[in-house]
Symmetry: C2
């Protein structure tokens, strides 16, 4: 006997994925779950509450992933792992990124939260890059803020690769690996010779 809340969230996620957040109503979700719409409202006041809750799930997955890779000493390898696993999470919750701007526009609370998380993400990448510079995997900045630019570039890719693949790929479901590869490649031109060697090894290791 699954908890109703869980059922609601699952069905909402499925419907959001299939038809887009804006095309799914509370009533429709309740219909699909097989409960009254009043009941759904009892658990989640509105669509935003649902979305906030689903985003919480994403966050938990991300935190879990971070824990898993925390033990990995090899910085570049941990970048590979977090990319691949992270991209799977994003694909699983793709409705969130596909309707990202819509959600941010209508859920101020969530928007604020996302902006905070973004700061953390920036710092995480910043730290990771510094570490790789120390380890002589990535070359030093060729000009000021070079890697700040890179991080922005990387942020946009992370946030929107799944949207782009929905538009342009024949089989978006097969594109997780493909885009993970694209993503990782953004770092390639900054690698030192040593870095490139590791990178190539990791490509085979991860079968990319």
């Amino acid at each position: 006997m699954k908890d109703v809340k869980v059922k609601i969230l699952e069905k909402a996620k499925k419907l959001f994925t299939d038809r887009g957040v804006s095309n799914v109503s509370i009533r429709e979700i309740s219909r699909e779950v097989g409960i009254s719409h009043s009941n759904l409202i009892y658990h989640f006041q509105d669509k935003n509450a649902l979305l906030t809750s689903l985003h919480q799930q994403i966050l938990e997955s991300a935190i879990q992933l971070n824990k898993e890779i925390a033990t990995e000493k090899d910085t570049l390898k941990s970048l590979f792992t977090s990319t691949l696993k992270g991209f799977e999470i994003i694909y699983d919750f793709r409705f969130f990124m596909i309707d990202f701007n819509l959600i941010m526009r209508e859920n101020t609370e969530l928007h604020q939260q996302i902006k905070e998380i973004e700061k953390l993400r920036f710092m995480m990448y910043d730290e990771k890059i510094s570490k790789m510079i120390d380890e002589n995997i990535i070359r030093k900045e060729a000009y000021e803020k070079e890697y700040d630019y890179l991080i922005t570039q990387v942020r946009i890719f992370s946030d929107y690769w799944v949207s782009s693949s929905q538009v342009y790929e024949r089989n978006p479901e097969l594109s997780v690996k493909k885009y993970a590869r694209f993503f990782l490649n953004q770092f390639y031109p900054y690698l030192t010779e040593k870095g490139r060697k590791s990178f190539d090894d990791l490509l085979s290791l991860f079968d990319l």
Copy 2:
């Protein structure tokens, strides 16, 4: 006396920009224009017809821009110009990119058209890059398909920088130049020494 069709398109564009495509109804647009909704339907069968027509405007702007830079001999300079002017067009029609996936999901005809255009865009970049390699501005590929990867990366950035800026920037309206700079920087690591010199000169020239 402005043509009604023009008025409708202008108002639709404005409303789409302000509130998002999914939050604007035919009836509301007609109300804002000051005509009956039947009249609007007479001119545009539905929202998709409106969007198709607005996309036509984008296309015309893009074609116009291409004509303008066709005379420019300096490949790198033409990249700068087309980026800056292109980004202004995108910002002007930002509703289209912000709700890109929504529109593509619901307007099959337009989706098909966009996929065709994407092929052209790919070829254009491919050609531009080849040219810059010949001119010793960009280095040769370090591995196979390196520049195919770059083009995908560039595609995602072009399509979604405006969405991302809406989410993360305080003053999205000021971010055209900023993101144009980010965009151009994607090419930097691939430049030859000669290329880097031109690039730096162009940065000053365009005040970036």
